[in-house]
Point group: C2
Chain length 202, copies 2
Amino acid sequence: MGAGKEFLDAKERALNLLWKDKSENKVDKGIERILYIINKSDDYYTSSSCAGRIVLIELPKIGDKMGAKFLGKWHRQIEQSEVKLAAKKAKTGLLWLLAQSPILHIAAETNSAADKLLKTAISCGFKHSGLKSIIGKNIVEVCSTERLDAPIGKDGSLFCNEEHLRLLVDISNEVIDRANHKLQRFERELKKFLSTLKTTKH
Amino acid sequence: MGAGKEFLDAKERALNLLWKDKSENKVDKGIERILYIINKSDDYYTSSSCAGRIVLIELPKIGDKMGAKFLGKWHRQIEQSEVKLAAKKAKTGLLWLLAQSPILHIAAETNSAADKLLKTAISCGFKHSGLKSIIGKNIVEVCSTERLDAPIGKDGSLFCNEEHLRLLVDISNEVIDRANHKLQRFERELKKFLSTLKTTKH
């Protein structure tokens, strides 16, 4: 089964964007190998990705994502002191500490390829994965359920005490730790699953 | 286009379960009309649903969902005093206040019916919706991004002050309010979209 021209063209455009992002250091290190494995396969390409992160964000109003200001962003486990330092930049509005699991968008050439990738992702613990489109384009979203969304301060000052903040940082670090384990497992399963695909094809 | 026997049988089983749940008062009022509209259509049936809720939960350890104990559960906006009252039942472990958006699982007879429903859900603000399976069974998961996952106490006592708790309750109520608006919009769009379907068919 050869890949259709439309799919190949779209893949070329996506990979060009990826190389550009990579040259500008915009691709998360923790997810690079997975992107490489997926893009090597004829049936898939990646269109966007994030390896999971901890974020300190300032929101002028509840739900006002457009007005959000990033005060800190870490693609790794963090120390309590880092949050406190980043929070010093806070001015007006609500301060949120967020821990976000990895997210990947992958285009598949066929419905069946999309379904197989989805099932692999779910089996590796990315339980919140789903297909975002199956007519026209097959897009698989790979994501997980672990997260933290906690408001921790207002108008420039934290309203949680040391113990509370330590706990929030511990939970955030746990989200990152679990994300890393799931990504490792996904990488192993992808390797197995894509090599089977090759054997069946040729 | 008539519905296949396998799909119709599965629909019958799902509806029997739904009527059973309804007779035991286990179906959320806020979502009943939507379930009715979807199940009336030949192309779809609902398999599970929750209208969105605010929950006070006690977890013995981080991520230990199996050991979770529900101290309070509300399918509506709440008062601060209700959280404090429910928190009195807390004993050991972390106390979390969660606000969860609606979630629905809908089976569709064909890939194309699944894709159309998915697009309708996304256009109504259920941005986190996706297809969970397209080979064998077509399952659409309808869900949204708004939520709150905040640890608010430990081993029986709250560690957030009055102001902090009020804010968390406000945010939770905002999640429920947005959920209700999205459900109303989804109901309107479903009615339009399913009546078009009928016109095309007959």
